[in-house]
Amino acid sequence: MTDLQVATAGNTASSRRKLDSVVVRFAGDSGDGIQVTGGQFTLATALAGNDLATFPDYPAEIRAPVGTTFGVSAFQIHFGDRSVKTAGDAPDTLIAFNPAALKVNLPRLPKGGLLIVDEGSFNERNFKKAEITANPLEDGSLDDYNLIRIDITKRTLEAVKPYGLSQKEGVRCKNFWALGLVYWLYDRDPAPTEEWLKAKFRNNPKIAEANIAAMHAGHAYGETMELDGFGAYTVPPAPIAPGQYRTVTGAEAMAWGLVVAAGLADKEMMFASYPITPASVILHHLARLSDYRVTTFQAEDEIAAVCAAIGASYAGSIGVTSSSGPGIALKGEALGLAVAVELPLVVVNSQRAGPSTGMPTKTEQADLFQAVFGRNGDAPMAVLAVRSPGDAFDVAVEATRIALTYMTPVMILTDGYINNAAEPWKIPDVRNMVAIDAPYHTQAEGFHPFARDPETLARPWAIPGTPGLAHRIGGIERDALTGNISYDPANHQKMTDLRAAKIRGIANSYGPLEMAAGKPGAALTVVGWGSTYGAVNEAVQDLIGEGADIAHVHLRHIWPLHPDLGDVLRRAGRVVVPEMNNGQLLTLLRSEYLIDARPLDQVTGQPFRIGNLKAAFRRHLEA
């Protein structure tokens, strides 16, 4: 833990205009260091006491040719003096490092928005690469925006001149120049970034100093120049619960959640995976945690990964496997085996736009059907969904708890947006977390591998190596007590019923169903799940603020559904289900509760916009 004291934010320039919330978007070439810039701005903003949410927007290509539109990388951050749950519909301020970045991102900027461009990159060569015919700085197409043209490249080179960098190295510092300017603009403290640069370029202090100089120059530029429509702002801190915080991405939180859960169960964890976008980042995080009883295994494919994870569970570890839609599809057969032999397993699906390869870098929620229904035979499976980066931690812990308590596979649905987005996260104290108990068995006397705990219906976990418990399990139907192969019709019916009852029984372990906003019985109840949480919640909160009779229920438990959900939905006037798919949760709710819930689908690979949601909810409220 790095202990660094920074000035509490918000108590400098009192002349600044106060804003309650701001959305800033940085956009440039993949090589421009946009994500680093965004990361630093995020940290500074967190330290300034604001609540925030971010959205890193990578290009689909690994490294597209410099200056092309498909090589544009962007980072959006939304911060404010109150609870912030999405990266914001539209930026207030857009910083565009080159013509391609401007071309791709301008459509997001509302008229009148602040637009900062690096004039130095607006040249013919770059226009051609971006397939632009006229100079947008000249042709009047930016007249409706609050345009600030600065030759950032030139000013950066001036600022870093003392450090004797090459031209290329010098130009690379321009993101920090711009960051300095934006720090000034929104009253953030550059000190933590200075520290970060020094640590990062420990072995190359010249680079660190040059970047720091560039940042200071940008900051100073803001202070000294008074440009039309370009004033200084401040965003007061948000009322945040006391405690220790950090920023986390969903992938980090998921990795830590799994590790903490294993710790709570006092077990090893075996994480077996095959790389796939956007899931790989969880593997990358865990690969660095081999100090914490974690083995990561990069298998030859997704099938091998899930099988290795099941093998690990069989041998007494917590087996975890992780992939995205196409890879999860490949795991279906083996997941059926895990259901059948009743071993614990956690399966993380970082959803992406489908079908098939689809749009790997884009977000979607269209794997719910696959999770709940996608296996041969009656093979019920518990399914949980993550709603935000920090929530991934809690879901990972709960999923592991369910898997171990009930001796069953659990699937977690998260997505690329959550994996990569960051938010401030109140760090839990593990000492206060409840240990996880699994039905370990060591007693040879009277041991039967399929005798069940009468409450959870879990079978005992008799781990190879335990003296006297040698037994055989497998995918052919098992006798309800001995586990030996059985083709007996009555036994098959019994086992089918037990498997179903065990999974249904998981719902007994849930906490109370909480309303995310509003109260049961509202004229319109919105039921959401997964990463739409922020947008749906902000939209509903806004409408409640406007006096609308609306409520929001957000499901962590996709299967089995929460025991109280039916009640809440039946009391609702109308039920709307916004999803980034063609109505998958909707199908579950309709069949379970026979309520005429209505779809609100968006399948564009883009997150919902709060504005669109509000408009749609209003239509339903008026209908």
Binding site: A238, G263, E268, R293, A470
Partner: protein, 346 residues
């Protein structure tokens, strides 16, 4: 349930489960089961630390019949399950039982990867050159032209050589045995067990129902010995019922040849088996009848570090308590928000 009996030497019965064996009467699998059980006795295996893992097929029913831990998984994936087991608990002694369809058709890739990674286990491939359990379709090792329900005009696919594939995948231990040669099999299996890393043993097995007699030429009393050679490291390559044939290398053709060891023959030219030489192993593995003898015994053994050892050596398996977890969560930049809601970096 079997309670370990550590004091006395175990017997085959100690490795026999209570499940009725349900292979067809006369199936070669019975003999292999016996040989494995005998090996378990010979190596003094601990039933509580031994795990048999299998895929699907007649062969794959094997684990049910051995009174150790057993996992009958899904078709073709046993190597992946076994890898997970071994990574999770390297102390377990893992035996993988598979068939030619299970290991070389659907499971070919997992076999390749468990071999190249060199995960410590014994892989026994029961090769009957047919899909037994699904009633007799041709398999990847079925001889070309074989008529089966799915190849009524005779199969067209060129068969795979299990041992050549294993060598191509980088296997460090490759051996071959035959169900009916009971005398040799336990020795080969014990060698496989002694080898640390993935040990691959192809066992020719007669499917009396769907492919009866395909290995008869190798096992028939008398004649059989003329068509097989049992390799021994450091020994000259001699075979035949009268031990009157040998193998030499034709340098010009870069190929093996059979020579007659008549009286006074020049045995100096005879090849001496070097089980660490991969080129030799490949040439031996490729030998096929009728002109060449089929190679049995340990074709190749050239140990290297085993995967699960290398992996676990880099890990810390100490108990992870709440304090360590708390520290983990607090690596990097953190800050504290006080009761008044203002932040302070930490």
């Amino acid at each position: 349930m079997n309670i370990a009996t550590p004091v006395m030497k175990r017997t085959i019965k100690d490795f026999t489960s209570d499940q009725e064996v349900r292979w067809c009467p006369g199936c070669g699998d019975y003999a292999i089961l016996k040989a494995v059980q005998k090996t378990l006795v010979d190596i003094d295996a601990d039933p509580d630390r031994t795990v048999f893992v299998s895929g699907i097929g007649c062969a794959a029913r094997f684990p049910y019949y051995v009174s150790t831990y057993g996992f009958h998984t899904i078709h073709g994936r046993a190597p992946a399950f076994a890898t997970g087991i071994k990574l999770s608990n390297p102390e377990l002694d893992v035996w993988l039982i598979t068939g030619d369809g299970d290991a070389l058709s659907i499971g070919g890739n997992h076999l390749v990867h468990v071999l190249r990674r060199n995960v410590d286990m014994q892989i026994l491939l029961f090769n009957n050159e047919i899909y037994g359990l699904t009633k007799g379709q041709y398999s990847p090792t079925t001889q070309k032209g074989t008529r089966t329900p799915s190849s009524p005009q005779g199969s067209v696919d060129a068969p795979l050589s299990a041992t050549l594939l294993a060598l191509g995948a980088g296997a460090r231990f490759v051996a071959r045995g035959i169900d009916r040669l009971q005398k040799d099999l336990p020795g080969i299996l014990a060698r496989a067990h002694a080898h640390k890393g993935a040990s691959f043993v192809e066992i020719y097995q007669n499917c009396i129902i769907y492919n009866d007699g395909v290995f008869e030429g190798l096992t028939e009393k008398g004649i059989g010995e003329d068509h097989r050679i049992l390799l021994e490291h450091g020994k000259p390559m001699i075979f035949g019922r009268n031990r009157d044939k040998g193998l030499v290398l034709n340098h010009d053709r870069l190929a093996l040849e059979v020579v007659d060891l008549g009286e006074g023959a020049d045995t100096g030219r005879l090849l001496v088996h070097d089980e660490t030489n991969k080129t030799m192993a490949s040439m031996l593995a490729a030998m096929e009848g009728p002109d060449m003898p089929v190679a049995l015994g340990v074709l190749y053994c050239n140990p290297d570090a085993s995967y699960e050892q290398e992996v676990t050596a880099r890990e810390n398996h100490d108990r992870v308590d709440a304090d360590r977890l708390n520290a983990m969560l607090r690596q990097g930049r953190c800050w504290t928000v006080g009761e008044d809601g203002t932040g302070s970096g930490g």
